[in-house]
Symmetry: C2
Subunit: 232 residues, 2 copies
DNA sequence: AATCGTTAGATTGGATCCAATATCCGCGCA
DNA sequence: TGCGCGGATATTGGATCCAATCTAACGATT
């Protein structure tokens, strides 16, 4: 009697409700909601993605779900195993090195382009985000704030594709770093970097800012790699 | 009486035949073949992608076609217009600047990682590819050789995701540069760069090689941007 | 004659239906 | 008792069917 799918988690229902009105087609809606759920940790790495179950949760048929899953596959967020279903993509230690390299290459480039265009409001917003992060305990929220802080500093690069790539890899790293945030002293060290980065941006010192970003990303990559190698 | 779709072009049929045996599921096969067709210029930018027509050409139903189109959408190779169909994505002058920035950031990183691991066979293969390019007139073949030359030099980076990103953006640029190859003196200048790059790699001079790559990519980006701005 | 509204047709978006394949369990046999 | 085989079952992959909507052509009205 397996035909009755499990009820979706309350978190997932929240993500679904938040995204439903934003899109005209069901496929886009499902794709956006699932991406948010995966990046936000609501659907953890390795979680099996039953098409029927998701369709019921989203209130659509299996087809938009399948199309959305294919899009997420192209973004390396889910993996298909033929005739065995899709799962939320897990990240390996090699992947983490990979992502670290990509971030180290892209983020300084984005920052260098963006820095001259940053306004006082941008810097103020970044400062606000940092302040909020200081008191934040929830890892999911923390990840989102971290992403938004970085992206705020890069936003004026005026390169939508570059920024999308950066955000994608930032999110991919964050999704795993989440587990670190509470465990180790990583969070405070990361915040130190953030404040130093913001100061360099205020000073308009591109070289210093880029150097901080490189260090910051490298450190995050090392934490992540170590974490991924440990629990095996 | 519009129900009879056009016959596919001979080029497309060739791509289809070449890819069919390589995959287990229809969706993967369609995705691979369509990607090759788009990157190879068989399906030019702006071409409308009728689902029924493609399904007939591939010998499958519309569903695998739709899934494949969604994957290609996630890779920014096709665009969906709700209820109006999908078209092969065109690239704007801004996109080209974007892609240039991304390449300029990623390719030196890939080269730097790869260079120490390059073998004599790798360098020999690269030289062979260059030699073949000297006598090549077909733009599609030229683009493929160019891609393979670059990727050969980056291959030992041991970063699959980075290399996939590099190849993706290299291909995106090539797809448009194709029109340049014959028209201008671009081809010979590009080949000069290639030979210089290969020499620097043979010498193991990472800094020089990266500088050449940056120049080369920048020049290609400028050509592309100029071309895209010209014909309106 | 030009423009706007109406309507027919084609095409996509979504749902349902069928077939193919993988998993899981139990049974038989060594 | 352990291993391998076989059938039952669930789940995916693919095909077909229906509804929603966009396009285009035609005609009426000014």
């Amino acid at each position: 009697m397996p035909h009755v799918p499990d009820a979706p988690s309350p978190d997932l229902t929240a993500v679904i409700a938040r995204n439903r009105p934003r899109f005209r087609t069901a496929t886009e809606f499902v794709e956006a909601a699932m991406r948010e759920a995966i990046l936000g940790g609501v659907l953890p790495a390795g979680a099996p993605l039953r098409q029927e179950e998701l369709a019921a949760a989203f209130g659509v048929s299996r087809m938009p779900v399948r199309e959305a899953l294919r899009q997420l596959e192209a973004r390396a967020l889910v993996e298909f195993h033929p005739h065995r279903g899709a799962v939320v993509a897990a990240i390996s230690a090699e992947d983490s090195a990979d992502i670290g390299t990509i971030r180290t290459a892209l983020e300084p480039a984005a920052l260098r382009l963006s820095l001259p265009g940053l306004t006082a409001e941008d810097l103020g917003l970044a400062a606000d985000l940092l302040a909020e992060m200081d008191g934040e305990a929830d890892p999911g929220r923390m990840g989102e704030l971290n992403r938004r802080f970085h992206m705020t500093l890069y936003a004026r690069a005026g390169r939508p594709r570059l920024l999308a790539l950066v955000e994608q890899h930032l999110a991919a790293a964050d999704r795993y770093l989440r587990f670190q945030f509470v465990a180790l002293g990583y969070q405070s060290r990361s915040q130190d970097d953030h404040y130093a980065l913001l100061a360099a941006c205020r000073a308009g010192d591109a070289d210093a800012a880029c150097a901080i970003v490189v260090d910051h990303v490298t450190a995050a990559g090392k934490e992540l790699t170590a974490f991924l190698k440990k629990p095996a």
